[in-house]
Symmetry: C2
Subunit: 286 residues, 2 copies
């Protein structure tokens, strides 16, 4: 029987550290603040917004929701971002994406102040992940994966890791973070030949294909640790599914369930980043 | 018998394109300019400086050498960089590294104007390589490898590539570029288990370990394409050596010789980047 690597204890441990950081900031008179910027009313966005807001509020982080109508202009979006950039009570900005059609996401991301980029979407943050410089913040989901591995004491150094998917939100950053942790990392994608064989030979598999239950028995082997980043609604099963077939996952050594795995940690990482963004501000500039 | 992938024809093809770009710029009254900034008198630096200067001069690129004494202060270095940043006749800045001990390389690199970073050392350039955004320039050696593969028509998409070494100068950027070209990329390093087996299974091997002739028969297999980025002086052999044992390389399908391989292309890529940096300047701001 395979071990379930549940996200809740990981999130709880992170939240404890964040609460301590928030308490420390409060002795300096600082309340860390997160602004959540949403354009339009996508149900996914609203769900994430609510979960982030709840988590942050519980930890003493001030949350401000800024909502623009679905038809907002690029100028209005840029102006909203610049106002938050300039606001000293806002330490982190979460821009919910994808933006409605017609808006230039690249331009919006480019307008974000890198020091407030708690979701790791700017070039500065991605360069920080790639170079290990520590600038900016890693994408929350990628850091969630690393926190899970650390929390459960999964050895990473010298191990073979296969990352399925090469998005900038998860695939490429998690590959860079695993490499920095001394794993031997292979990134697989739509053009990769014989993905199942590569997967089976890995000690750690990160599934971030975005295709529900696309990772099956042929990909998995005994003793592996599998992190499932997927989260999609299956019409067929009428439920939330990961990228890994849960029956097949039972063949491995340990895996993150969906729901209750990686996704459960994301809001805790976001809150940790907001507190860290507030801590990074030099006392003399407060 | 294995094919030798010589750098000279690759460099010649690149230079032809650069010459055309320089001619195009000259109709707009622009002479692309490269500044080479050197601190101290390391023989390696001087050799690279001379080769870059010769190459650029032959292509109609103006080259300015700026040399600071080995004992220069950080302030003097920053000032020299800022002066070049502000100089409209300088489109590219090559900062020779490593800097003498006592100087903060990170700070120096941070001072470089990203749009003049023709050697791909700034965070902006590395983020550009990692994200594929096209911002900045890739490190010259990494792009040289890609140019060699393209010039000789080596298939990359869907092929397995192993990169030996994870430096920011070559290992990590070439891995990102191979991934962007749809290879399935594995990065190996000092903590990797069984490197020879991983290497043998690859279609493309990029050797960037910095250890002379450390890649031998046990790493190589028939039909592979091997790019040797190494270039070190072997006391034992009293000659310039690559990272790959040249006798072992003969087992493969094709390989870049040392000297005469990757290193031969670098100055041509640098010149191409200088011309491109000049071309990127919008007409109205000239």
């Amino acid at each position: 029987m395979s071990e379930k690597l549940r996200g809740a204890p990981v999130a709880a441990a992170l939240n404890e550290k964040t609460a301590a950081a928030v308490a420390g900031l409060s002795t300096r008179g600082i309340v860390p603040g997160l602004a959540i910027l949403r354009v339009g009313v996508r149900p996914d966005d609203i769900a994430y917004e609510q979960s982030a807001e709840r988590r942050c509020a519980a930890l003493g982080i001030a949350v401000r929701r800024v909502t623009l109508p679905a038809g907002a202009s690029q100028e209005a979006l840029t102006e909203a971002i610049e106002r938050l950039n300039a606001d000293d009570t806002v330490h982190g900005i979460l821009l919910l994406r994808p933006l409605p059609e017609g808006l230039d996401e690249k331009a919006a991301v480019g307008a974000l102040a890198p020091e407030k980029d708690v979701d790791g979407v700017t070039g500065v943050s991605l360069a920080g992940v790639f170079t290990g410089s520590g600038a900016g913040f890693p994408p929350c989901t990628a850091r969630s994966c690393m926190e899970i591995l650390r929390h459960y004491g999964v050895p990473v150094a010298g191990k073979r890791a296969v990352v399925l998917g090469r998005s900038l939100v998860i695939g490429r950053p998690i590959a860079a973070m695993l490499l920095a942790a001394d794993a031997t990392v292979t990134v697989c994608h739509s053009k990769t030949a014989d993905i199942p064989a590569l997967c089976r030979a890995a000690d750690i598999v990160v599934a971030a294909t975005g295709r529900p239950e696309s990772v099956g028995r042929e990909h998995l082997s005994k003793g592996q640790v599998v992190l499932d980043v997927g989260m999609s609604w299956s019409e067929k099963k009428q439920k939330l599914c990961g990228d890994v077939d849960p029956d097949a996952a039972e063949l491995t050594g340990a895996f993150t369930p969906v729901p209750g795995g990686v996704g459960t940690v994301t809001a805790a990482v976001l809150a940790a980043h907001v507190a860290e963004a507030a801590e990074r501000i030099k006392p003399e500039t407060v």
